[in-house]
């Protein structure tokens, strides 16, 4: 039957039906467990913010993607947060400033962003992540990366890489350039695209020193395994970049002592988040999936925008990307559906209610089949709606039959024994 009422959703947002919603919840639960194991505490930021306040913590890119509108109550502009990190920064800076640093905070929520109207570009984004506020040492950066690895393992990813960069390394090279805006932008675009050919051509005519040229031309190829750091050390001579490499080496040393260095790759030409981050940055990629599934890095300037200067680093998982990439693997990991559909042939419903209550107390998931007329109909319904078993109470209310919905295998049971806890599924 075709429903004639128009019920379309705006593009870029989704409903999650049973099974998909179970998988999403599985990801959230497993990641939250990891966050708790590392001593992080949950915060739940407000779903709506004053635009002017929110914008203090947003980069140019996210400002443009923010859903904003008029608040009838106050006449001010309000906005749906496009990212949770600035909200946590605001909370830490304004509501928790009397408490001793560092703060280890975690969150799990969804945000809205304007996105290009293209397939697979979501506007409703589900995030789960952590913020570590008040520490500026490499061990804190390593903690985020180690947690990213543990999180990916916890949700069943096995073939993945965490790709690490350092924006101060790039700043050391780019800040020294004195190029007019459009040319500086063209150079950055070429670096971001690892477009060595265009960069070479551009630098032939730009006013840069030979040393700068050499450093710039190295950037598009400074990616790979941890041996990349040696190539980088040979390629740069400015102090800032060298300090950034020292910092990266310290982070790597910590990751080695955590025993997770095998998952690390390096990319020193990564410009993503350049305007927002202030040190180590990273992104997680699963083999065979085109987009990052988690990302994070240092953002020492953010809480200061809310009047509370503190070094900080963080990590966010993109749950929809994980859901898409791990869909098949999650089939095996996520239990969905329910244990028992309880169907009674007796006219008195009291035994059915007593049995349902007893089984629920024993820990089973049980629904009463209230409306079907016969056993076959009930079995068909149970199978279709993901009940693993149909439990039938016969006329006399003392004999039971358990039917496995997958293979229709039957087991006879006794009512009083089942009430007493004899059932094993």
């Amino acid at each position: 039957m075709v429903n004639s009422i128009e019920t379309r959703l705006p593009t870029g947002v989704k409903d999650f039906l049973p099974i998909k919603a179970n998988k999403l919840e599985y990801l959230q639960t497993r990641l939250k467990d990891v966050f708790y194991r590392w001593g992080f505490r949950l915060v739940a930021p407000a779903p709506l913010e004053d635009l002017a306040v929110l914008e203090l913590g947003l980069g140019e890119d996210l400002r443009e993607k923010t859903f904003r509108f008029d608040d009838r109550q106050s006449g001010r502009l309000v906005a749906f947060p496009p990212d949770i990190t600035p909200q946590v920064a605001r909370i830490a800076a304004t509501r928790m400033q009397e408490l001793p640093l560092p703060f280890r905070l975690c969150y799990n929520g969804s945000v809205l962003r304007h996105a290009e109207q293209r397939l697979g570009k979501d506007r409703g984004i589900h995030q789960a992540g952590v913020e570590l506020i008040g520490l500026d040492n490499p061990e804190a950066d390593a903690e985020m990366i180690a947690m990213a690895i543990e999180g990916l393992q916890a949700v069943g990813a096995n073939d993945f890489t965490i790709d690490i960069g350092q924006v101060e390394f790039l700043r050391g090279i780019l800040d020294g350039l004195e190029l007019p805006g459009p040319q500086a932008q063209a150079v950055r675009t070429a670096i971001a695209g690892k477009d060595l050919s265009s960069l070479q051509r551009m630098l032939e005519t730009l006013p840069v020193t030979d040393r700068q040229k050499e450093e710039l031309l190295a950037l598009p190829r400074l990616f790979g395994g941890t041996e990349t750091l040696e190539r980088a050390a040979a390629a740069v001579s400015n102090d800032n970049s060298r300090r950034a490499l020292d910092n990266l080496n310290q982070v790597l040393a910590t990751l080695e002592s955590y025993g997770v260095a095998e998952h690390i790759t390096i990319d020193l030409g990564e410009l993503r988040g350049f305007d927002y981050h202030t040190g180590i940055i990273f992104q997680g990629f699963l083999s065979g999936f085109g987009q990052a599934v988690c990302a994070g890095g240092r953002y020492d300037g953010l809480t200061a925008r809310y009047g509370f200067p503190a070094p900080a680093t963080g990590l966010t998982f993109s749950l929809l990307n994980l859901l898409f990439a791990l869909d098949k693997a999650l089939d095996e990991r996520v239990a969905f559906g329910s244990d028992i559909l309880l169907f009674s042939e007796a006219t008195d419903m009291t035994p059915a209610h007593r049995l349902a209550t007893a089984l629920r107390t024993q820990g089973y998931t049980v629904a009463r089949d209230i409306n079907t007329k016969d056993r076959q109909e009930s079995l068909a319904y149970a199978r279709r709606m993901h009940f693993r078993n149909l439990l039938i109470i016969h006329q006399d209310a003392t004999c039971l039959t358990l039917v496995n919905t997958a293979d229709e295998g039957e087991t006879s049971l006794d009512m009083s024994a089942t009430l007493a806890g004899d059932l094993r599924l």
Binding site: G193, K194, L196, F223, G288, G290, Q291, A292
Partner: protein, 220 residues
């Protein structure tokens, strides 16, 4: 699956040029010579897979990770503005993206005085960006082919299109006004693939750089 390196290549000439370039660095696909109806070809021994797709679809396959690597014209990349790495200019498929208009219009036309023009093109995004930077307002008419026809029948005074020799434009009485971009075929790489398959991809880039430098330079 994922220990394969998958290429998305545009059907036709560019695919042939790409395969002959890859052949120079030892990447081959004997299966491709056998059948022409297939869309996916494999070299199982060396773990390479090649997909034949429409040129405009190459960036899509690569951006979403269905292919690790692609070969596509710079014109398509400029038009689609995708989130991809573009590490190498393969230096074949050379042509130019130009603004053109009928010769008789060109005689007393001053492009510096354009403020509101109508342009027919396959490249609306590139065209809009190019003229926006100059502060010129454009009315765009998107066409899918035979762009040169538009000025003849009065659909638009001017066009933005690719030219290689310029013969088609000349035959249709059009002259170039301005070059928007030089176009060659580019090697593009998916962001995740570059990280998760960095050894194979780095090797590929290094080998290609070698043979491209050795060969004759077409564009300057």
């Amino acid at each position: 699956m994922s220990d394969f390196l998958t290429f998305a290549l545009p059907k036709g000439r560019i695919m042939q040029d790409s395969m002959s370039l890859f052949g120079k660095i030892g990447i081959t696909c004997p299966e491709m010579a056998e059948s022409s109806r297939k869309l996916v070809f494999e070299n199982r021994e060396d773990k390479f897979r090649f997909m034949a797709v429409r040129a405009q679809d190459v960036p899509t396959y690569v951006e979403y990770g269905s292919a690790d690597i692609g070969v596509v014209g710079k014109d398509t990349l400029l038009e689609q503005n995708r989130d991809l790495y573009e590490p190498l200019d393969l230096q074949f498929g050379y042509c130019r993206l130009v603004v053109a208009e009928p010769a008789e219009l060109r005689r007393d036309d001053d492009p510096a005085g354009w403020s509101n023009i109508r342009i027919a093109t396959k490249y609306p995004n590139v065209t809009e960006r190019f003229f926006a930077e100059k502060g010129v307002q454009v009315e765009l008419i998107k066409l899918y082919g035979s762009i040169e026809l538009a000025p003849i029948v009065g659909l638009a005074e001017r066009i933005v299109d690719l030219v290689s020799t310029g013969a088609t434009m000349r035959e249709n009485g059009l002259v170039e006004v301005e070059t928007i971009a030089d176009v060659t075929s580019r090697l593009i790489v998916n962001r995740a693939s570059l990280k998760t398959k960095h050894r194979r991809i780095t090797k590929l880039l290094e080998d290609l750089e070698q043979v491209i430098e050795d060969g004759p330079r077409i564009s300057g």
